[in-house]
């Protein structure tokens, strides 16, 4: 029930990641707010630079995806950016990215929002768009520079980064979608009103009734619909708001630590919100071999999960030359202190 399969098989033609270079260690957040005591949920998180936002970051990820896909950009019929930190409330990020990669004017372009699953929402739609035959190529991006409220637990992990995917016909794909499934309920675990700068959340309520209920349901129902078991997969990646949740979800579903290792990036870059599950997927694709199966499950507060089952093809071996890998972006780091972070994130009121 709920299994999504398009009329023609589609897959990932190109993918690209982006992580800004600045890193704020969790020890810095702890130093300022907890006197250096308290448990650290991750090692460090990525912080955007002074001139970066979701538009600039999406463009770089999109260019990386184009470099891997090697297609004519004018054939892209949709450029969809999902984020919870779009630069404008009204004025799509997607048109900026579409223009930057040369996909205009014959393209769909709209922004998506569903907390941390905005990017995979766009991917589901792209699968349908291409799978129906309406288009041969569509781009879906999940990217965020989400703000953490100063002094809140989430400030440790609210990071920046994400990924872009170009969806196209299966015969050209480096990984084919075997099927997908969305599991959505009205569950208010985390939200931000339009006039508020920082989000609010329901503390422990964001666990069992939100993250776990939706991730576990989407993952297990997709596997059941496809007749698949955890042992059939070489890799699994889940939404990663902290180091604990995805590890527990993986373990409870029956995946081993090895299966989730490649995609688990939160400890080094933080929670990249709409980019989180899908940037983990790029790290997996950077090392996956033909024939490998991958399970990717996002989670967005509000709440819902998108689950995807992928099978890697022969084409993957030709798609890496000259494009930075996700690990290379992670390794490119400049450590900053809390004061610099506060400046970069415009937390200091100048008037």
């Amino acid at each position: 029930m709920g299994l999504l399969k398009p009329n023609r098989d589609v897959g990932i033609i190109g993918y690209g990641a982006y992580v800004p270079r600045y890193r704020l260690p969790a020890t810095e957040v702890s130093r300022i707010w907890e006197g250096g005591e308290g448990a650290l949920p991750i090692k460090e998180k990525a912080v955007p630079g002074l001139d970066e936002d979701v538009a600039t970051m999406s463009i770089e990820a999109a260019r990386n995806a184009m470099a891997r896909a090697r297609i004519d950009p004018t054939l892209i019929r949709a450029v969809w950016v999902g984020s919870e930190s779009h630069p404008y409330a009204v004025k799509p990020t997607s048109t900026i990215v579409a223009e930057a990669i040369g996909a205009v004017p014959h393209t769909q372009a709209a922004d998506w929002q569903f907390a941390c699953k905005a990017g995979t929402e766009a991917m589901q739609a792209a699968i349908g768009f291409v799978g129906s035959g309406m288009a041969d190529y569509a781009m879906a991006v999940g990217m965020d520079t989400a703000q953490g409220r100063p002094g809140d637990a989430l400030e440790y992990t609210a990071g920046a980064g994400g990924a872009a995917y170009i969806i196209g016909p299966a015969n050209e794909a480096l990984a084919v979608f075997e099927g997908s499934l969305s599991y959505v309920t009205d569950t208010p675990d985390f939200w931000r009103r339009q006039y508020e700068h920082y989000p609010e959340h329901g503390s422990r309520f964001t666990g069992e009734p939100a993250y776990f209920k939706h991730v576990m349901s989407a993952a297990s129902e997709l596997m059941e619909a496809l007749g698949a078991r955890p042992s059939d997969y070489a890799y699994a990646v889940f939404h990663q708001p902290n180091a604990k949740f995805p590890v527990k979800a993986g373990r409870d579903l029956g995946f081993s630590r090895d299966q989730i290792k490649a995609g688990l990036l939160v400890n080094e870059i933080g929670n990249t919100y709409a980019g989180a599950a899908i940037i983990g997927l790029t790290a997996i694709l950077d090392e996956a071999k033909p024939g490998d199966r991958i399970l990717a499950v996002s989670f967005g507060s509000g709440a819902g999960s998108d689950a995807f089952s992928l099978r890697v093809t022969e084409h993957i071996t030709h798609r890496h030359e000259g494009v930075p890998t996700t690990r290379q972006y992670i390794a490119r780091r400049v450590e900053i202190d809390y004061a610099t972070y506060a400046r970069h994130r415009k937390k200091l009121l100048m008037e």
Binding site: A39, H201, S203, R204, F205, P209
Partner: protein, 387 residues
């Protein structure tokens, strides 16, 4: 004045009931108690609760719950005495039956604490302390107990690890309680590594924030025997409330917990017995230090030697003075206004011989002590098994 019995008990599991409202939780325990009592008639309802206004935006619980449960029209009020609300409600119910003003009375305790973030709950709980001098200066409830614990450790040369057996014992007993929030064991190692909350009080010293409801049905002892086919009436031998200054800094004898000492003394007098007669004690273990102080001032150990009861295994089910026999506040849980009634329900289970793997053998006399704030309102109840 006439003797009063408890003829019915009911309780919900203690936990994070995000899908249940305050009145749904209360209804669950009340209907269970009424069913257990096998009575069709209820004359009045007393609802013990501390924070319904602050944490759920709802006061006026007497009328709210009586209507929702199907008792529209009866005498019903909310009784509040901070974390002592549950047993304070019991005292009110007891007094009306003993005073021949009502025959069948339901006493329920209910609390919902998990629908607001931690900071809001901490701020609300601080309302049990002195608003002008304690809460205003940022003293949270944990902090007040930390002050008591630190002073105790200093005066008696006691180390923090000596409090561990109280957490370990509570958790061990919770394993066999299907209503407990934390039905798993903890070790001395866990206690040592446990996260510090307000030095020296750590996570395993402290009871949890949670939701729950418990209820009992009272009636005259004579009626219990003759009319309500209650096979296991339990008699209320004593129920006594005493108060002390709210603020710690106004106490005459900080570690003497005078409210508890006075309440216990009154209860022993009412019952005509002493601590040596008590077979089990549902102590108010909101924090491990509170267990130790209560045990001392109620006469189970000398001042300053309370931790020995833990170290020597006296507090275990088979020990000299079993405490927290179904998990206590620490492991069964502490939905603050409901706790006092959970304690009574658990003593009744023991005296009826219905405590399963946690049964204290030959339990005839059980004591429960419910403490409001850091010792400002204390209600001590002594129950006796009837044949």
């Amino acid at each position: 004045m006439r003797d009063v019995a408890i003829i019915g008990i009911g309780q919900t599991k203690v936990g994070e009931h995000w899908d249940k409202s305050l009145k749904e939780l209360a209804t669950e325990s009340i209907l269970a108690a009424i069913k257990d009592a096998r009575t069709e008639r209820v004359d009045s309802l007393y609802v013990g609760n501390m924070l319904s206004g602050e944490l759920t935006g709802q006061e006026h619980l007497g009328a709210l719950v009586s209507d929702f449960v199907g008792l529209r029209g009866v005498e019903a009020v909310k009784i509040e005495a901070a974390c002592g609300s549950g047993a304070a409600a019991l005292r009110m119910g007891y007094v009306t039956v003993a005073g021949e003003l009502a025959d069948i009375v339901v006493v329920a305790g209910v609390e919902k604490m998990t629908d607001k973030p931690g900071d809001a709950v901490t701020a609300s709980l601080a309302m049990a302390a002195d608003g002008d001098f304690e809460a205003q200066n940022g003293l949270s409830f944990v902090a007040l107990n930390a002050l008591l614990m630190r002073r105790y450790m200093h005066e008696y040369g006691v180390k923090h690890e000596e409090f561990a057996p109280f957490a370990i014992n509570a958790h061990r007993n919770a394993v066999n309680n299907p209503y407990a929030m934390f039905p798993f064991a903890v070790t001395a190692e866990d206690f040592k590594k446990s996260k510090m909350i307000a030095d020296p009080v750590n996570l395993l010293d402290s009871s949890p924030v949670c939701d729950g409801s418990a209820a009992v049905v009272l009636c005259p002892l004579d009626m219990a025997r003759h009319r309500y086919a209650s096979e296991h009436p339990v008699k209320l031998r004593a129920c006594a409330i005493a108060t002390d200054s709210i603020a710690l800094h106004d106490r005459r004898d900080l570690l003497g917990l005078e409210g508890a000492a006075l309440s216990a003394h009154k209860a022993y007098s009412q019952a005509g017995l002493g601590p040596q007669d008590i077979d089990l004690f549902e102590v108010h273990d909101a924090f491990t230090i509170m267990s130790v102080l209560s045990l001392e001032v109620c006469g189970f150990a000398e001042r300053g030697r309370g931790t020995r009861l833990g170290l020597d295994g006296d507090i275990a089910i088979g020990g000299r003075i079993p405490i927290t026999t179904m998990g206590g506040l620490k492991a069964r849980g502490h939905p603050v206004g409901a706790t006092g009634v959970y304690q009574i329900v658990e003593v009744v289970e023991q005296l009826r011989g219905q405590a399963g793997k946690n049964q204290v053998s030959d339990a005839r006399l059980g004591m429960a002590q419910n403490i409001g704030g850091s010792g400002a309102t204390v209600i001590t109840t002594i129950l006796e098994a009837m044949d």
